[in-house]
């Protein structure tokens, strides 16, 4: 643990006179030195445009850029040509949403017709989605005339699977669902949902933002059709994300962003496009960010995703046991005994989340307060905002314990007695 913590310089600072207790890795994680060095090394040694240049530097840059793709692909059990770089997970969702719109307009090769949506077609999401895996589908429905339906959340914060079996039906074209919730921390039964969707020939779009950083994932085995995740949540830099798509699907999809480096032949009126993944990577790419993400993946691999998952389950348990034993603190989502990633969101009765966060911050504890980009889920659970502590491989037991101790002081300070 000490070894790990030494790799993260940002953790060694004082905030308001207290050692930083960073419990906001669910929002964004910290970078180890090796990741920063990978990026700097690139700019010091071989920075050049990729897939465009023929000189020595450009060739070297292209090689490491594609090697980074291979590293990330292997990490999630995917073939290289199924990995598309994006700026963040959000852009990956939009990519598929807009590509389907374009197909619906009749753009792309004839094979793109399979992605056409229109009145009568249904897109299914869940009530626990992050806005990034919800609004792009709302917009796709608006653009195409398809209907958006959703799988409701039960009182305990888990998906209503009985309802899901009714809601997914032969009109369903796509089911978009998160792997692990960024609010209630639970891991959804993806295999079961994939079976439901594939039984009616619907595609499955997985939001893997909170799973890829924390669990060992094999996207091929999961058999989802698409998945997205973000580099900045898995020890990587900002500005890079990944869209996974089954190669045979990507091959038939019309492009989303268009411009340089994704074409074969262009004249003034028309353009022909490259095969995936280049078809979806317009303009100069996030080269140094891709290398840095590959370096982050190496770090995770080296630490061991099995070990990370076990460690985080332990931290999650400690959090849940702790918060549920504080009077007046309500845990969102299922309690002790249900496996979760290392995060917990709570409501402190009578104290607004922003005030809770301020109180914790004063003690050097960084947590997220608000709706965590999941307004519908908060509404469903009867709160407008919550306070979320989220851990990662560098989080210590002591940090969790300090959080719990300070959280227990919140209600007394704000004069809430129960």
């Amino acid at each position: 643990m000490l070894r790990i913590r030494n790799d993260f310089p940002v953790l060694h600072q004082l905030v308001n006179g207290h050692p930083l207790n960073y419990l906001d890795s669910g929002a964004t994680s910290q970078n180890p030195i090796s990741v920063m060095e990978a990026e700097q090394e690139y700019y010091e040694q071989r920075n050049a445009a990729v897939h465009r240049g023929a000189h020595t530097l450009a060739f070297a840059a292209t090689e490491v850029f594609e090697a980074a793709r291979a590293t990330v692909a292997t990490f999630v059990g995917a073939p290289e040509n199924s990995i598309v770089w994006t700026s963040n997970a959000t852009e990956g969702v939009n990519l598929v949403s807009y590509s389907f719109s374009n197909a619906s307009l009749g753009l792309g090769a004839p094979a793109s017709a399979r992605f056409r949506l229109g009145a009568g077609d249904e897109i299914v999401v869940t009530e626990m989605e992050h806005h990034s895996n919800l609004i792009p589908w709302q917009q796709l429905a608006l653009r195409t005339g398809a209907t958006l339906r959703f799988i409701p959340v039960l009182d305990d914060g888990t998906l209503d699977l009985a309802a899901a079996a009714q809601i997914v039906n032969p009109r369903t074209r796509l089911l978009a669902v998160t792997h692990a919730s960024n609010v209630v921390g639970t891991i959804n039964p993806i295999a079961e949902l994939v079976q439901l969707a594939h039984a009616v020939d619907a595609l499955v779009f997985l939001d893997a933002c909170q799973s890829v950083p924390h669990l060992a994932i094999d996207l091929t085995a999961l058999d989802v059709d698409f998945a997205v995740f973000s580099g900045h949540k898995m020890l990587g830099p900002t500005g890079i994300g990944v869209l996974y798509g089954k190669a045979e699907l990507l091959a038939d999809m019309p492009p989303f962003l268009t411009g340089g480096s994704m074409i074969t032949t262009v004249d003034m009126q028309t353009a022909e496009f490259l095969a995936p993944p280049q078809r979806f990577e317009a303009g100069t790419q996030r080269i140094s960010q891709a290398l840095a993400l590959a370096s982050a993946v190496d770090y995770l691999d080296h630490t061991g995703m099995g070990r990370i998952r076990a460690r985080e389950a332990e931290l999650g348990r400690r959090l849940v046991e702790g918060v549920t034993s504080i009077p007046g603190v309500r845990l969102l989502g299922p309690g002790v005994g249900v496996e979760r990633i290392g995060l917990a969101a709570v409501d402190v009765a009578g104290v607004h989340a922003h005030d809770v966060g301020q109180f914790l911050d004063e003690a050097g504890i960084a947590v997220r307060v608000g709706h965590h980009c999941a307004q519908p889920l908060h509404r469903r659970l009867g709160v407008t905002a919550s306070t979320r502590a989220s851990t990662y491989l560098y989080t210590t037991d002591d940090e969790v314990d300090q959080f719990l101790a300070v959280l227990a002081e919140v209600a007394p300070f704000f004069g809430v007695s129960r």
Partner: protein
């Protein structure tokens, strides 16, 4: 643990206002432009959101008379948010209800100046009343928005009645 900094930020006056907020109403239906109340007041309303945390406040004002001499004879607000923003709305109610537009704008400027001062302005309690309790907020730049939220809504509502 509860440092004196916390106690300076969350002064008892603030916690009290947050707990029993003055002038808060459960509903404020949207208002058409140029509305006039049953009592003949020229009304306007503004809804403001703090996008960082989702806090929101709607402020309604009703004026008698015109220009900067007009009197604020109606004031109501509703909102959801942290204790700073809710207390600030309550204090705003106490501060501007019944004053002239000119007086209330002067107060707003003083309040804003104090909040932006990063702790350098010592508030005059004689002038600011309970609003002086927000001096501690100015040392927390991230919370200045919370304290300003209702005042910004108030300012925007007045602007519509210019």
């Amino acid at each position: 643990m509860t440092s004196s900094a916390m106690q300076q930020l969350y002064q008892q006056i603030i916690l009290d206002h947050a707990k029993s907020a003055h002038g808060a109403v459960p509903e404020l239906p949207t208002l058409d432009a140029g509305s006039v109340s049953a009592a003949g007041l020229r009304q306007a309303q503004s809804h403001q959101v703090n996008t960082t945390c989702g806090d929101e406040v709607t402020v309604r004002v009703g004026l008698t008379g015109a220009g900067t001499d007009a009197e604020i004879d109606e004031f109501a607000w509703r909102g959801a948010g942290c204790s700073i923003s809710m207390a600030s709305a309550s204090v705003l109610n106490d501060t501007v209800r019944g004053t002239s537009v000119a007086e209330s704008e002067a107060m707003l400027n003083l309040f804003r100046e104090m909040l932006r001062s990063r702790g350098t302005i010592e508030p005059d309690e004689e002038v600011l009343g309970d609003a002086a309790a927000f001096a501690g907020v100015s040392k927390y730049p991230a919370r200045v928005k919370c304290a300003m939220l209702p005042w910004v809504a108030f300012e925007a509502a007045l602007l519509q009645l210019r």
